[in-house]
Amino acid sequence: MSITVRIQPDDFDPAAEVAQLTEGRPEIGAVVTFTGLCRDEEGRLAALELEHYPGMAEAEILRIAEEAGTRWPLEGITVIHRHGKLAPGANIVLVITTSSHRTAAFEAAEFLMDYLKTRAPFWKKEWLADGTSGEWVEARDHDDTAAERWQTA
């Protein structure tokens, strides 16, 4: 299984990343992509600023991807997470999973996102529509619950 993890300020192209994973790989029968975007929260936000822990962000996402590879029969995983100040509508995160069948690809993509939200060292700060900096986004119990459902007994 191939794993690609990139942490970058620049935008990404989901179609180009899918092509990277699937070209010349006729055994792949399923591709699931998830793209997370910056919301404006009903006009309240001008931007989200994403801070990360360089080094650990890559290492932790790699650990999560390797864990997914032990749980599902995957052919490839790509995770790209942006940092810096991102305006509403901008891409924040991309997860792609490929497999011979869809169930593994769907489940692994959900697992990757659930774990990424609670374990990858990124933090979001709000920038408000009036130009001032707002609060740090608070972690949600909902995200912890989503991650916990993957824990094996």
Binding site: Y53, L116, K117, P121, W123, A139
Partner: protein, 83 residues
């Protein structure tokens, strides 16, 4: 030991990282949080609810009762909100 701070922990303390000589009795993240909280009001404010602070030793998540050992760097930060 190199100590790193992120997000509102970094803002409250007023710096992203610092080098601190830790006394021998600081052997776990819980000990470290208690030790740092005594360094001044900014630390006290950052760690007023120590139980919610997440800890990474050499870039790996650890619980508050794990031994720090001879770590190179320890990072202290709020619960993560990426994705």
């Amino acid at each position: 030991m190199k100590i790193l701070y992120f997000a509102w922990v970094r803002e409250r303390i007023g710096m992203p990282e610092e080098e601190i000589a830790l006394p021998a009795e600081v052997s776990t993240p819980a000990d470290l949080l208690a030790f740092l909280s005594k360094r001044g009001p900014e630390y006290e404010s950052a760690f007023e609810r120590p139980e919610i602070i997440r800890v990474a030793v050499d870039q790996t998540h650890v619980d508050h009762d794990m031994p720090i050992g001879d770590a190179r760097e320890i990072a202290l930060f709020p619960p993560m909100t990426g994705g």
